[in-house]
């Protein structure tokens, strides 16, 4: 079988070996969680509880009307201590609900899950309502409301499970595929059912090839495939950013998502491995999205770990409790997410959120920062760009303040994957420029639209 891939990309050092063979561990003794109210891509929520309220595990604590909203649930049972602004994993301050665990109460009463639901028996509307009610958002990064993604306005021909996990360091999707292959397959099947897709593909990068037999076995033994659903595993070249939605679709279907368009425009739905498992649990147990898997690793992490942690757990707590151990002396940079797209934060006193796939504790060497030099026009960025943009020219246009030209070159098409900055021998901060540029361009367009009116 030819290994598929896309054009461009780069090979940052993988550094996955540290945690790839460590079994996933579940955090049980969390005493306090800080749950950000707004964890999805969409309109802000209203808080449904007050300070002093007793909440159950799985109880809805924030919600709002509107299509682009997803409720948030208490991830542990306990007392609402505070509702106040705290720093979130994207470095902004936002309202957070602080819950202190009350362990004395009996676990039976302290849990409030939804009733189980058979996704293959219920209607599409019911299924979508369940996905929303369970608070599921994309766990691969963006936090896009999954129920919106599962209600496409165009016919879907293939559902892709994104098991690429192309970000260096991170191993949680790999562990999930190894440990829970059945759930992954079931998740694909549920998604296929909801979007009425004839085909499902589990995409795995070559460096995780050892998961393929397990997945294939699970597919073979799954009641869904026996009932006629077509699911297969596809091996992809290990290359960053293979896990990017657009790159994945191109590698597997050969089609390109049109500029400004969505995967559904080429008949695809892409779901992260974690998201699939969360969906399975939401139907099978009625369990909302109150915990997620993540990898804690890095050069300044003496004991790396793959964990399942309640949403809102402070990473500091994970470390003090010894699930993972930090080397504070060596610690120079904390990243929420992967090294290529994650966010550098000032400390690890920040909660695990629905889209936190890992926390990296980097040491001096890994965190080495190079000062920017002038662009030598080597063109490496252009050859590496996964979107075939021209980062060097784009950066020049942005720097010159020529946003119209920048838009033409494709500023808004940049997926901020960071490949260009990674390969640049002059260590140009290309992606940061594009982010700033996008912000300004969007503001400009908004202004224009207002003026036009």
């Amino acid at each position: 079988m030819a290994v598929k891939t896309f054009k461009g990309g780069a090979h940052p050092p993988e550094r996955k070996e540290r945690s790839s063979s460590i079994a996933t561990e579940r955090l049980l003794d969390v005493t306090q969680v800080v749950i950000p109210v707004n964890q999805h891509f969409g309109a802000p929520l209203q808080v449904l509880v007050k300070v002093g309220d007793q909440v159950k595990r799985g109880q809805k604590i924030a919600d709002a009307e509107g299509r682009m909203t997803v409720p948030v649930h208490a991830s542990i049972a306990g007392l609402v201590k505070k509702i106040e602004p705290r720093t979130q994993s994207n470095n902004t301050d936002g309202p957070c609900i602080v819950i202190e665990a009350s362990l004395e109460s009996n676990p039976e009463d302290s849990t409030e899950f939804l009733p189980p639901l058979d996704p293959f028996a219920c209607s599409k509307e019911e299924a979508l309502a369940r996905v929303r009610a369970a608070g599921i958002v994309g766990m691969g990064g963006a936090g896009f409301p999954t129920h919106v993604k599962l209600a496409p306005s165009k016919p879907i021909s293939v559902v892709i499970a994104n098991g690429a996990e192309c970000e260096p360091f991170l191993t949680i999707d790999e562990r999930t595929m190894v440990e829970r292959p059945e759930d992954v397959v079931e998740g694909v099947a549920i998604t296929m059912k909801i979007v009425n897709a004839p085909e499902g593909v589990i995409a795995v990068e070559e460096n995780k090839a050892h998961a393929v037999p397990l997945l294939e076995k699970a597919i073979a033994s799954s009641p869904r495939t026996r009932a006629g659903m077509k699911i297969r595993v596809e091996l992809l070249k290990t290359k960053y950013p293979q896990g990017g939605e657009k790159m994945l679709i191109t590698a597997i279907t050969g089609k390109e998502v049109p500029s400004g368009g969505l995967p559904m425009d080429v008949g695809c739905v892409v779901q992260n491995i974690g998201t699939l498992c969360a969906m399975v649990e939401a139907f099978r147990e009625g369990k909302p999205l109150i915990e997620r898997g993540l990898t804690v690793t890095g050069g300044a992490c003496k004991k790396p770990a793959n964990l399942i942690a309640p949403i809102g757990t402070l990473v500091a707590d994970i470390l003090t409790k010894g699930y993972a151990v930090a080397d504070d002396e060596a610690l120079r940079r904390v990243i929420y997410g992967g090294p290529m797209m994650g966010v550098a934060v000032p400390s690890y006193q920040i909660p695990v959120q629905k889209n936190t796939s890992g926390v990296l504790l980097m040491n001096e060497e890994e965190a080495k920062y190079y000062d920017e030099e002038t662009c030598i026009r080597c063109g490496r960025c252009m050859r590496a760009c996964s979107c075939r943009l021209s980062p060097a020219l784009l950066a020049a246009a942005v720097e010159a303040g020529d946003y119209k030209d920048a838009e033409k070159i494709g500023l808004l098409d940049c997926i901020e994957c960071g490949t260009c900055s990674f390969v640049c021998p002059a260590h140009r901060q290309l992606v940061q420029r594009f982010r700033v540029g996008k912000q300004i361009l969007r503001a400009m367009k908004q202004k224009e639209a207002q003026n036009a009116r």
Binding site: A396, E399, D402
Partner: protein
């Protein structure tokens, strides 16, 4: 072949701007972006040809018979200035689309020395009418070429960390010097 030679020499070998230092004021002022320089270049081409078409007969059929060759400077510049003015009026009123594209450059042209130089040289080089027209097209397209090339480099220099003491006009002239050096490659091309 003769016409071709006149044209190519005027366009490349003896480029008005790069080798003959004419029309520099607008060369510096009007090369902020490529579109602008193209507009200006075509406007100049148009007027140069028109000016040649007007002054050549005037010289040969009026000034020479009357023995008034010494009024050449005065008559030529007056004719060109009025011509530009008339064209401007005409365009503004009757072809506003074209005026918007190119008319705004017209006033600049009155004092563009390349145009006057061409009309003089048509006389000094004893060109026939046809040769004069070809020569004027060659010269003005040479001007357009130089304008566009500088505009391209200027565009690029917008993000260059040019040393402070050279920023602005000095570096434009230095860039022109280097363009001129490259154009030396055309020298001797047509003998």
């Amino acid at each position: 072949m003769d016409l071709m030679k006149i044209f190519l020499v005027a366009l490349l070998v003896n480029n008005v701007v790069l080798m003959r230092f004419l029309a520099l004021c607008s060369y510096v002022g009007m090369t902020n972006d490529v579109g602008q320089s193209v507009g200006m270049g075509f406007a100049v081409t148009f007027v140069t040809v028109l000016a040649t078409a007007a002054t050549w007969p005037l010289y040969h059929f009026v000034l020479v018979p009357l023995q008034l060759q010494f009024l050449q400077i005065l008559v030529f510049i007056l004719v060109i200035a009025s011509l530009v003015q008339l064209v401007e009026f005409y365009l503004k009123k009757n072809i506003p689309g074209l005026y918007a594209a190119m008319g705004i450059y017209l006033p600049l042209i009155t004092t563009n020395c390349a145009i006057l130089a061409v009309t003089f040289e048509n006389i000094t080089y004893k060109y026939s009418f046809i040769q004069s027209i070809v020569y004027s097209v060659g010269v003005s397209l040479g001007y357009l070429l130089a304008m566009v090339l500088l505009a391209g480099i200027r565009d690029r220099m917008k993000t260059s960390p040019v040393p402070k003491f050279l920023q602005g006009t000095p570096i434009l002239f230095i860039a022109t010097a280097l363009i001129g050096m490259a154009f030396m490659g055309f020298s001797g091309l047509i003998k």
